[in-house]
């Protein structure tokens, strides 16, 4: 199977933009299970790129390679001009302050309050802010962005699934990242809460102008948030295009994603 190395129909408009993330020929295997087989991708400044694939297709593996949680077997990952695999641990940690990561299950620290959860990333990255920071102000501002300022002293266990996801989103926002990676942002949520999260993602994109990479198999989420989409099939970028282009495709492998 051949990878689609195009960047989609808006190529001329996109090429004028800065590439913030570039992945070249990414390979990753677990024993005999070849998950990524030469995956390629470019994320442009300010765009929302959706990577869609079946469960177990390697979407989460790919996104974890992007923040250094997994090391690929081969390939190159460049984030804001820095080659990720060549970075020292200290430089990798510095780079991570520009990348927000929303985990699939929220991943809030359950032994800490909402406030402590949000303050946690500031422990390491407070020097990112030029002047002395007012942690309380940053925490409340981040929570207000997701409409949950009143939960600041609650424990994660006291929040519903949707609220936990929004607090997790606030935690990713507290360091004012340039790129936000969303790992299945709507999975496990009811349709109404999922829609709230999608609207929130759009609002954040508009307010902060972040570049977003969204990993999902939720077609409704992809329809609303995507500027561009990549279909990840058999470990490669099988097809790249807008939602409408892919939806209109007569390729049965692509159609399988859009048929409900």
């Amino acid at each position: 199977m051949k990878a689609d190395t195009n960047i989609g129909s808006q190529s001329s408009a996109l090429e004028a933009l800065e590439v913030v993330v570039q992945i070249d020929d990414l390979y990753k295997s677990f024993d005999h299970n070849h998950v990524l087989n030469g995956f390629n991708m470019k994320l442009y400044k300010g765009e929302s790129l959706v990577v869609m694939g079946k469960s177990g297709s390697g979407k989460s593996v790919m996104i974890k390679c992007m923040v250094g949680l997994m090391r690929p077997d081969a390939g190159e990952i460049t984030i804001m001009g820095k080659k990720l695999l060549n970075l020292s641990q200290a430089n990798l940690d510095d780079l991570r302050s520009d990348i927000g990561f929303l985990f699939q299950g929220s991943a809030l620290y359950d032994s800490m309050t909402v406030r402590e959860n949000l303050e946690f990333p500031l422990r390491r990255h407070s020097k990112k802010f030029a002047t002395d920071i007012d942690e309380e102000k940053l925490v409340i501002e981040a929570l207000e962005n997701v409409g949950l300022a009143h939960t600041v002293d609650l424990m994660p266990a006291e929040l519903s699934g949707g609220m936990q996801r929004r607090v997790a989103l606030a935690r990713t926002l507290i360091l004012k990242p340039k790129i936000i990676l969303y790992d299945e942002p709507t999975s496990g949520l009811d349709p109404i809460t999922a829609k709230e999260i999608i609207i929130l993602m759009q609002k954040i994109q508009e307010k902060y102008g972040t570049s977003s990479l969204i990993i999902t198999h939720d077609v409704d989420c992809a329809r609303v948030v995507s500027d561009r989409m990549i279909l990840l099939i058999d470990g490669i970028n099988y097809k790249v295009g807008t939602f409408k282009e892919l939806e209109a495709s007569d390729d049965p492998k692509i159609q399988a994603f859009f048929k409900h």
Binding site: K64, V67, G68, L69, D93, D94, R96, S97, I99, F101, F103, Q104, G105, A107, L108, Y109, D110, S111, F120, P121, R123, R124, H125
Partner: protein, 266 residues
């Protein structure tokens, strides 16, 4: 046919032995990483103190209760035999040496392996499967330093204190029985006890408790930190942390007694 049938358990034993040795190897690497990270900055003082409170302070009641019952039972069980030989006056010495040298450290360590070791295994295991450890790493905090180093240090340093406390309560329990059954006064009992206990009884016993604490923390953290396979894996991590630590404690105890014996002979 019989060769095939006989070769199955042999193969199974070989696989188990291989897995066991692999796990020992991984545990050694994990311990090596601990020693590498423990001296690196930044030091996580607040988390360390929080863990000392969680593991030490919250274990006092359990350790105290266990020690008290051990003291009572040991005295009750031994008294008839000593009485038969007309050696009841040796009771404080016998109980004191037994508790300080062996029973106190071992029972306290086993109780803590159950309470603290399984707690660490379950907590870190749960953090692993819910991606909290990954979230910590992405936020620029070294999770090994924050979670593992602090916990191992906390158990290593609090267990000796718990053992001393447990020993004291156990000896007091023994005194209560002696007081009831033999009408022995507090002063007489403790004079006889401290006359019998030597410096050489206390020092090796205290030193080995640091190793016991280190083993409890190390195995609990190792099992939890590398927990796999979802929520079932969390239960398995907690369970195997207790089993593995208990075995390790007996092995360490044997080594400690063996080494102490060499020093006694010198």
């Amino acid at each position: 046919m019989s060769i095939v049938v006989n070769s199955i358990p042999l193969e199974s034993i070989r696989t188990r032995l291989r897995n066991f040795l692999l796990e020992i190897g991984e545990l050694s690497i994990f311990a090596g990483r601990f020693f590498k990270e423990v001296f690196k900055r930044p030091f996580e003082y607040n988390e360390f103190l929080r863990q000392c409170y969680n593991m030490g302070n919250k274990s006092f009641v359990l350790v105290g209760l266990t020690g008290f019952i051990i003291g009572l039972v040991l005295t009750l069980q031994t008294r008839p035999t000593l009485s038969e030989f007309g050696a009841v006056s040796w009771m404080p010495a016998m109980v004191g040496i037994a508790i300080v040298r062996e029973i106190g450290p071992m029972i306290t360590a086993l109780v803590c392996a159950g309470r603290i070791g399984s707690g660490i295994g379950a907590e870190l295991g749960s953090m692993r499967v819910t991606e909290q450890i990954d979230a910590m790493e992405v936020s620029g905090t070294n999770p090994f330093k924050y979670l593992v180093v602090t916990r191992i240090l906390a158990v290593t340093l609090t267990l000796p204190i718990l053992v001393i406390f447990g020993d004291a309560i156990a000896i007091y329990g023994s005194y209560i029985i002696e007081n009831i059954k033999g009408n022995v006064s507090f002063q007489l009992y403790f004079n006889q006890l401290f006359d019998a206990i030597e410096f050489g009884d206390i020092v090796p016993a205290t030193i080995k408790t640091f190793f016991f604490g280190f083993a409890i923390g190390l195995v609990g953290c190792f099992k939890g930190y590398y927990c796999k396979k979802g929520t079932a894996g969390v239960g398995r991590a907690a369970n195997s942390a207790v089993v593995f630590t208990s075995i390790l404690l007996f092995i360490l105890d044997f080594i400690a007694v063996f080494v102490a014996d060499i020093f006694y002979e010198l």
